[in-house]
Symmetry: C2
Subunit: 444 residues, 2 copies
């Protein structure tokens, strides 16, 4: 009965799957193009993933980092948004099968992003929780606050420990920033909110399989990050991998164990391909092989951009570009320019993608960050201010900027985290938390 109801305007139609950084960038760039643009997303909002960790640690409300996709595009007349789940592509028919029916395309762009990668360990996947979606972040917040509440009810210190041990796996920006935020919870929230809890029983671990944190940055920044986290009480363990986890006890490759009911996994991501693509375009980590124009291998009119795209045209990134927002944004823009030029001047030579690395940064709790921008290495308070300004500026929407700024301003002076509420009751344990997150995703 339901149907996409996308008007047939006679224009060539570009269908974009995914309203993340890449999809948005592409769609915006096509504003004055001769194409009809159809944007599909399972959610009706664009998510600013870099601040997810603050939602998970009660520092921001989820609505402040999500922006309605219709709000972004309601002045772009050539764009039609539909909330839909894509099931299958049929390249031979130029048709997508989706939860709202079949959608025809002339050009298809997959900007489906990435998902948490547990590297095949089913036990860890069953008991750990990732942090890629808004619902995961909200559920983590609910869960963490519930762990504090329940710790109060335990009869012995032995029973309290696993509730107050929080383990982050993965030493990239997400793991680092999350660990820093948990350290802030321990320093500033726990003593005030839970004076009855023995504070020393709360421990925050950051586990990284490689030799150093933030491997994409310089060794100096890695060292400063490890020092900074150590100062605020985070136990950093590099060169250590997680071997097993059953929801209660974590087994590490160095033989140690940690009793924890909270394993937050940001140790890897993988591409999210769509069924029906040419088999030889897929590589094991889920990315889709594209050429330097983002054209999918073995295809004529299907493109992939961002995290989902495996492009190896630059020897400096022989394993593919990093899965970061900047790559997605730049590929989206480049593809839009190429598509528009080709439609206006059919013989026009396509411009290959060239990545311009704008740098990277990460906060380390309060007042401290590391940043590497344009060849400069910053750290400490100034890097932290830079981090805040860059994130505020790139966050979409004036209202969201205001609300985030209000929260940061308030938090800076009060040390308080206002959103530490449990809206949906938290899950009883991390395995159930994971189920809730999954159910929620699939819930129609």
């Amino acid at each position: 009965m339901i149907q996409p109801n996308i008007p047939d305007t006679g224009q060539a139609r570009i269908v974009i799957v995914g309203g993340g950084f890449g999809g948005i960038s592409l769609a915006k760039q096509l504003k004055n193009s001769p194409f009809q643009v159809v944007l599909l997303d399972r959610n009706n909002y664009h998510l600013f993933q870099p601040l997810l960790y603050q939602v998970a640690t009660a520092g921001l409300e989820p609505e402040s980092i999500a922006f309605p996709l219709r709000g972004i595009f309601n002045k772009q007349k050539n764009l039609h948004f539909r909330m839909a789940e894509v099931k299958l592509v049929r390249p031979e028919d130029n048709v997508l099968e989706t939860s709202i029916g079949e959608v025809r395309y002339d050009y298809l762009v997959l900007a489906t992003g990435s998902n948490t990668n547990f590297f095949g360990n089913k036990n860890i996947e069953a008991h750990a929780v990732g942090m890629k979606s808004l619902i995961e972040a909200v559920q983590i917040r609910n869960y963490v606050v519930k762990q504090f509440e329940e710790a109060l009810l335990m009869p012995t210190e032995e029973a309290i420990k696993p509730k107050l041990n929080f383990v982050m796996v993965g030493g990239g920006p997400t793991g680092v920033e999350l660990a820093g935020a948990f350290a802030e919870l321990k320093q500033h929230i726990l003593p005030k909110d839970y004076p009855e809890l023995p504070l020393h029983l709360m421990n925050i671990y950051l586990i990284e399989a490689g030799p150093r944190l933030l491997p994409a940055m310089s060794e100096a920044s890695s060292r400063k990050t490890e020092e900074g986290l150590g100062k605020i009480g985070v136990h950093v363990r590099c060169n250590v991998a997680v071997k097993e986890y059953d929801g209660e006890v974590l087994q590490l490759s160095d033989g140690n164990t940690i009793h924890s009911q909270s394993l937050l996994w940001s140790a890897g991501v993988k591409g999210v391909p769509i069924a029906g693509l040419p088999a030889d375009a897929l590589i094991p980590n889920g990315r889709i092989v594209v050429d330097e124009y983002n054209l999918v291998k073995g295809s004529k009119n299907i493109y992939t951009i961002g995290d989902a795209a495996q492009m190896t045209n630059d020897p400096a990134f022989s394993k593919g570009y990093p899965m970061v927002a900047q790559v997605a944004i730049q590929q989206g823009k480049n593809l839009a320019i190429n598509l528009e030029a080709a439609s206006k001047h059919p013989g026009h030579a396509w411009k290959p993608f060239k990545y311009k690395d704008l740098g990277s940064m990460a906060t380390i709790g309060r007042n401290r960050a590391v940043a590497e921008v344009g060849g400069m290495k910053l750290s400490g308070f100034f890097a932290w201010m830079t981090w805040m300004v860059v994130h505020l500026m790139t966050l979409m929407g004036f209202r969201n900027k205001l609300v985030v700024f209000t929260n940061w301003f308030y938090r800076y002076f009060t040390f308080d985290r206002g959103t530490r509420i449990i809206i949906k009751r938290g899950a009883a344990n991390i395995t159930k938390l994971r189920q809730i997150v999954q159910d929620t995703r699939l819930d129609d």
Copy 2:
């Protein structure tokens, strides 16, 4: 295994069930009392119910009207908060049975508030949704946005209609304010976000069984409210009751029917008593009979305040006081003063409760409200400003005030509603919506 772990300090212990307006007022007033105060609530936050309707209509984020109970009391040393569900009271033992174990009390105060009253109609209860909790408001928002998204996919106007017809039942402040906010959605959000939808198919109905809206206010205010709602396109139907509803078609007492998949019910509330109370203290609408000191009939040390209390000491309120925040706040304060005075001066005469009516008010969409304060009747823009100031001032927490103010400020100048996102996928129909809300409540 879990236990409440409330320290035994030797002080007499007052256990308060419920962190709403009444419970908070009582607990705060007991700050410097000789009592140990134990506050129990199923949630870990105080909810500012008067603004729930704005969460439901994407005007505010849920976190902006919820305030962590631990944040309110973290400087009150004699208070212990526990998140718990109360199951049963055993008056003969002075013990509460709860989800976290048995809690002993010397004095028990029930401030359990009220819940949606469907007056025994099981079909309506199964298919309509109330608006008393934060999760209900969030789910209504998700559901409403999903109705808009789905309306786009319908093959015919006949199929669109029930998705865009929204029916509010109950002409009290909640119904009036909700209807006004829906009218704003229609005027300012729908044309921009959904230019493809036929706007005239969205209809907002406000159904009231009695002869006029806002029966607690003057007839002049009722008339102004009805006129104001009419001007912004709300169909007001007074003297009409809802007879039946199956989730799709609403049957009214005047013989008319409305095709709607969205029935929002604020036509009545009922008390939420706890099992184990003296049977003759309960009246049919769930309220608990108390004397003029809020002492429960047939009990020596159990009190009830606020919506849950049925007190008839004032001939002007022979059916009991209205179920509004002011009564709860004033009863909480009066009871605290009496309990403290009695403990310090055992022979002290208790002060009977005397209600001071501070007035009432309701917004009618944008720029318009009615207010009756201290004998004055206000309406229009000035009443609307008054309404905003009063709500901002009484909202708890500086951060929440800032975030709400930010939202209002932004919305006033942009006509935008920033939180129109679906975090958890919306329910497919209103019956499922109701199930989600119920499951969420019961979810442990």
